[in-house]
């Protein structure tokens, strides 16, 4: 299969050996589960249960808030203790409306949805509806509702489905283990999705630093005799897993800015998402648990664990033998694009692909020094931006100038900050700029809305005043006329 080259990118030490040989284990059922209502891109889910309800595993807890949203299901059987606010797994430390479920220990499944026995006969609509019903979201980290993506086939002509087994983030090995241990489930899910999208070509992309997974998947596809699926090794280079760059490497097509990869006929799905589709379609099981890697030098025994959604990070770490030292950084996701967590009493959600407790040594941190314009960040940026110039504009509060040279096109992969010899937090600058710019846009939209309201009110007041004046004038005129009328009446 012909591969293309992407611009820039960095060679990160993948440090997957910490957990790549650990088979997937299941977490013993935790006593309390904290299920936030916002676990996906789009509107938050709306609860359908109230405090005190007793629910079974897999029962609907909250329905989708809008077209682009995903429902939530009970990760285990138990009692709804409370629907209140709990700290979200987010660096802001803000709280979030969360359903707090107290498990009764029986872990009893509810009545599963009717399995679709021959998915290849069913049309795309039913498969997309089933994915929506089961609350499936992208498990690669973006957590975009899968149903919406599966529906794309009906509206746009697609020709390729790419299964993202790149997992270019260091430390994370959950996709690798899934491909090795749950190969059939993954491949079945892949074929179902390919049928729903109506694509002829399916490419499973796996980085060459995962040889066993590559071998097992290739062998399974050959055994299955599915000619449309090709499993290919791609160079282990960060950020290979970024959607647009993976599509470029495999198909050579470049996704236009502000557009989706679907607009150039390619849809990308994560390996875990494929497995979730398999469970939803074949067994009617909603998304209630996912595999994630708990790793980092500060964790005694790094492992890959199948975790019910809503488990607290503290429980995960305790299951892995606790911490060997207070972690320098506690992250959700990989070290490159992962979000630092405000503490250990936060739940894991559908989009959490890993929990990392990194020691100071692993960070290679250092004092921030002035930028010496070495240009390394320019040569490693996969999106062809000039990070040092954007950062110096942002530092001087000239966000419009930074936006003009493309800060909105930054995908935040972190290659520049990784390679910067002066340890400048470039991605932090860009995230601040993007946040500030969108806040300014929101304020501008609000000002425009208020301008419309003010103009409308002024017109209305004007009309009312005019009407009153006319009425006054009419009444005065009428007051004069009655004598004439009275006069004529008497005559």
């Amino acid at each position: 299969m012909k591969l293309f080259r992407i611009r820039g990118g960095v060679h990160v030490e993948h440090r997957k050996e910490l957990s790549s040989e650990q088979a997937i284990v299941t977490l013993p059922l935790p006593a309390w589960l904290y299920i936030p209502l916002q676990q996906h891109i789009g509107a938050p889910a709306e609860p359908v249960v109230v405090e005190g309800d007793v629910v079974l595993k897999g029962q609907l807890l909250a329905k989708a808030g809008s077209a682009v949203s995903a429902p939530l299901h009970a990760p285990t059987s138990g009692r709804i203790a409370q629907i209140g606010d709990w700290m979200a797994p987010h660096p802001s430390g803000l709280t979030q409306r969360t359903i707090i479920l107290e498990s009764d220990g029986r872990d009893q499944w509810c009545e599963p949805l009717l399995p679709i026995d021959d998915p290849f006969a069913a049309d795309a609509k039913t498969i997309a509806a089933r994915a929506a019903e089961c609350g499936l979201v992208g498990m690669g980290g973006a957590a975009f509702p899968t149903a919406v993506k599966l529906d794309l086939g009906t509206r746009i002509k697609l020709d390729t489905l790419v299964i993202n087994g790149a997992e270019c983030e260091p430390y994370l090995t959950c996709d690798d283990r899934l491909m090795r241990e749950r190969t059939d489930e993954v491949l079945d899910g892949v074929r179902i999705m390919a049928h729903a999208l109506g694509v002829e070509r399916i490419v499973v992309a796996i980085e060459t630093n995962k040889p066993q997974a590559l071998a097992i998947m290739t062998q399974a596809v050959a055994a299955g005799g599915w000619s449309k699926i090709t499993v290919t090794g791609i160079p282990a280079r960060y950020p290979m897993g970024s959607e647009r760059h993976l599509v470029h490497v495999l198909t050579g097509r470049e996704t236009p800015a502000r557009k989706l990869t679907a607009d150039i006929g390619v849809v990308v799905h994560n390996v875990a998402t494929a497995r979730a589709v398999h469970h939803a379609v074949r067994h009617g099981r909603p998304l209630v648990a996912r595999v994630m890697t708990v790793s980092g030098q500060a964790v005694r025994r790094p492992q890959n664990i199948e975790v019910p959604l809503g488990t607290l990070v503290a429980e995960l770490i305790d299951h892995c033998g606790g911490l060997t030292e207070p972690p320098a950084r506690l992250l959700s996701g990989g070290p490159m694009m992962g979000q630092p967590l405000p503490g250990r009493k936060v739940p894991v959600i559908k989009g959490t692909s890993g929990i990392l407790a990194l020691s100071a040594v692993e960070l290679h941190g250092g004092p921030v020094q002035p930028c010496i314009k070495c240009g390394t960040c320019v040569s490693v940026c996969p999106c062809g931006l000039v990070p040092l110039e954007m950062a110096s504009y942002i530092r001087k509060d000239r966000l419009d100038a930074a936006a003009k040279i493309g800060v909105q096109d930054c995908v935040g992969c972190g290659s520049c900050a990784y390679a910067c010899p002066a340890h400048i937090p470039l991605v932090h600058y860009f995230n601040y700029a993007k946040g500030r710019l969108s806040a300014q846009e929101r304020e501008q939209r609000k000002r425009d809305r208020i301008k419309r309201l003010a103009v409308a009110r002024a017109d209305r007041m004007e009309k009312i005043a005019k009407a009153k004046r006319e009425a006054m004038a009419a009444r005065k005129a009428a007051a004069k006329k009655p004598e004439a009328v009275a006069g004529s009446a008497q005559a």
Partner: protein, 193 residues
């Protein structure tokens, strides 16, 4: 032909009107804050300088020399330059309002730009013919614009640096202009004959 090329390079780089002859310093400092403004000012000044040196030559040879009115030279040249600048101002105001806004006071001030008058008088002093004075006018205008744009690029970059307080603003611009003329000393000694 080779002599004209040497004349052009000589006036633009070797004895550059700003950094070697030190003419036209105030508009250089005034409009070299941003590169767009510098580009606009450079084009406007090039147009004015070239046209004025040609007109100056015309007046010199048609009017002043035959009637020995040499003492009127500066007065008539300024009159011509003012007219050309007024015309340029109308054109710029019509063509691009933002540039007109950005240049602001410096557009009419081209009249007082000593480089423009200086080049016209130098043309007469060195007895240049029509083509020579055209090239001399254009060459020095090109040198002026080159320095303006290079200085604008440098000042825009230094605007992003944390210049210590006593040097912020004008002083650092003068340091940059000084270092730039230091670099231009490299061209000293190139014979332009």
């Amino acid at each position: 032909m080779q002599e004209y090329v040497l004349m052009l390079v000589g006036t633009a780089l070797v004895n550059n009107v700003v950094l070697v002859k030190f003419l036209g310093l105030c508009p250089t400092m005034g409009t070299s804050g941003k590169v767009e403004t510098a580009l606009g000012m450079g084009m406007a000044t090039t147009f004015v300088m070239t046209l004025s040196s040609v007109l100056a030559w015309a007046i010199e040879s048609a009017l002043l020399a035959p009637f020995e009115l040499g003492f009127l030279r500066t007065l008539t040249f300024i009159l011509v330059i003012a007219a050309v600048v007024q015309f340029t101002e109308m054109v710029v105001r019509r063509v691009s309002q933002p540039l007109y806004q950005a240049l602001g006071i410096f557009l009419p001030l081209i009249t007082t730009n000593c480089a423009v008058l200086g080049v016209a008088l130098l043309n007469v002093q060195e007895g240049h013919g029509f083509i020579q004075s055209l090239l001399y006018g254009f060459g020095s205008a090109f040198g002026f614009s080159l320095i303006l744009i290079v200085l604008a690029g440098l000042r825009e970059r230094v605007a992003l640096a944390d210049v210590p307080a006593p040097f912020a603003g004008a002083p650092i611009s003068f340091v940059i202009a000084g270092l730039l003329s230091l670099a231009f000393m490299g061209f000293a000694g190139i014979s332009t004959r």
